[in-house]
Amino acid sequence: MSSQFTQSIAEALRNPKLTGALGKFSEAYRGNRAQAYAGIDFEALRTLIAERKAYAASHLEALAAEFAANARARGAKVFRTGDPQQVREYVLNVAREKGARAIVKSKSMASEEIHLNPYLEKEGLSVSETDLGEWIVQLAGQRPSHMVLPAIHMTKEDVAGLFSKEINERLSSDIPRLVNVARQELRSRFLNADIGISGANIAVAETGSLVLVTNEGNARLVATLPNTHIAIVGIEKLVALFEDILPVLTALPRSATAQLLTSYVSIITGPAPNTDGTLKDLHIVLMDNRRSEMAEDPQFREALQCIRCASCLNVCPVFRLVGGHVFGKVYTGGIGTILTAWFDALKQSEDIQGLCIQCGNCREFCPGNIDIPGLILELRRRLVVEQGQSLVQKGIFAVVNNRRLFHTMLRAASLGQKPFVDGGFIRHLPLFLSTFTRDRSLPSIAPAPFRDTFRKIPQPRSEEKAALYAGCLIDFAYTEIGEAVVKILNRAGIEVVFPEGQTCCGAPARYSGAYEVAAQNSIDNIRALLEQDVKWVVTACPTCTVALKQEFIGTLESLGRHEALPEARRLADKAVDFSWLVKQLVDEGRLSFRDGEAPLPLTYHDSCHLKRTLHVSGEPRDLLRRAGHQIVEMFESDICCGMGGSYTLKLPEISAAILHRKLHNIEATGVSEVAADCPGCVMQIRGGCDKKGLAVRVKHTAERLAERLE
């Protein structure tokens, strides 16, 4: 990560003005969006959109040709090119032919992508953005910080300053007054413009139609008042059929701004009459700029299903803290990272892709059903392949991949940490390591790892065996969680075994793009965990469960290690998450808990992998209730705590800022007990509470349940 980039993150985090409106918007977004989708089956809708857009992505060539033929038949001029420079030149040539001086534009990300404005301005043309947010950003000489809300990083005072300068009049920061200034000022530009430039939200091959969606009404004016209209359309906007407009139009406004529909939707099919009685000179530029290449990529083809609603920005716990000037280039946020890697260059996504904490929230909301975090991980992998890992990372992974060395080092660390340990916490680390403990205390490394403790727990003999996969945190820091898991399983009559050959699940390597390292971890663990014939492989760390159930297979597949796949699949079938298994056991009447006389209030934090990858969120709550707890839900219980594995080490300041929001939401419940199902979350939240001096006890669900075993 470049130091310049790290610096920009620090600045963004320290500037509350930058993300004030964005933060408020993102907090309200989920509720408002849910209201807008009332009565609509979102899963069915996005499945349909994904299917229609995936069809288009795999027939780009044919659809582009069909679109061009139909639009031409209706009288439009269609120009198709892969090269951004040719797009710029085409627009300039039209302007020259028309003897044009002034251009008005409605919002077009495609034109931002090719930096059209500066090009045309250098050629002496006056170019005015007319979307209010775009105009503000243009006046400020900046780029949009959000794909739908371009100026969300600016305050009304900033806008008042810009407008005052523009119209040479001192303006107050009264928003309706400022909007009216824009109306007056831009109205005369609309009326005097020679050319209107727009993008398009949808392009229909079957009819040659363009769909333009706006709230302000500027696209209607851009397409009506000047006699020439140039629409710049990325070819991923193509759909096959006129009826394909519907699902996109149903999702776009709801996902973008929680509206049922934007104020204006214009469907333009060929030239319509101008105000002087002539027909519109309508030019449609179908721009490729590596989209076809993307469509050929088996993984990234999916990204062409994007409808540019920006909901991945709105629900991202990182984006709302740093905004789009840090998290993105022309295109911002999660999908912006992916588009940057393609439309710009892989190298350009190097810093921003690191911002993704892999919490998976955006994937839940994406109306194009795109696995955005998965694709970002794939970018990370390709970056590592292209550029290699940093030396520090290489060093770390060399250790992690050598189980004996790794474990010996952890044992040594248990002794080495002594000067810093205080009541089970490491509160301060010296020198450059101090960032890690500035905002959270770290757990001390257990004097004896769980693998040693386990030997001292007598096991019942049973036909029904479960192998316990501890994962690093339980093995080396929170051995008590492991003990709780064993106690509960034993109570249900299950014999627990601890395969000694188990090692790190490989998640840190995988999330850093180091797939070769992760693959070796997978192989080692598969061998160790399948050594004995067990019914289940149980983990109390959802990240580890996801590794065992899904990622070992994914990693090995992507490296072409097909010989290892049958065993990986066998392990995946046996791997279960702790809460999920215990819920089954309770439902079968094999376990029960003591009910408290008065329910003990507790708030529950949903771990990212448990809720969104394993789809387990009701089970732990149900178990905790049965064990005598009253659940007091916190705001945004399923938003990441900022742990994200090695994210805390790579981007400690962002991790801490996310943590602070989580702590704030916990405090707001007024309860002093927290449960979570992931030892990583426990570490992050417990450490944050300790550092902040909160009298809050954070425990793993397994510990809470073990306390209440009947």
């Binding site: 979307d131 969300i152 305050t155 009326l191 009819t207 302000e216 519907l246 049922l260 939707v265 214009s266």
Partner: protein, 185 residues
Amino acid sequence: MFEQFKTRAEAVSAEVHRFATRAQALDFILDFLRSEGIADQPGAYALWADGSFAAALDRKRLAAQVPGLRFEITRDLAAGARAGISQVDWAVAQTGTLLVDATAVEQRLVSSLPPIHIALAETGRILPDMAAGLARFDPGRCAFLSAITGPSRTADIERVLTIGVHGPKRLIIVFIDEAGEADHQ
């Protein structure tokens, strides 16, 4: 479906009225124009675009009744008008949306440049949803299809909703129960 339309349209700041007859609707419109100070002066006049309702009017008499009410439409006139009146083809209850074939440029001028847009619609032409709405249009015959849902709006400054940026600041929707000539075909 009218009630659903009204709820949805009012939720996005449109003003919705309903009249049994064309005569009552006309009275309302003329009263409204007078109350808005429509006059035969620059910036104060109103433009009425073609449509089956407008076609049946005695334009000379109306222009005499409300000075400043005009039926010829140009770009310059639209730019200086206080109100624009037009008839829409269909309404969509689910979203409070008006659908109009706006290929004729007059339709676009009166509904986008003046600060007030009065839209006439027949109550019998309310459709349940956008699927039904789009199905009524053949893009092969309609070069410019406009869907209008409430007045022009923006939230680009600090996410504060502000009505009336580039298009109309007010959208007055007048429903008429009595069917027009065109519907008796």
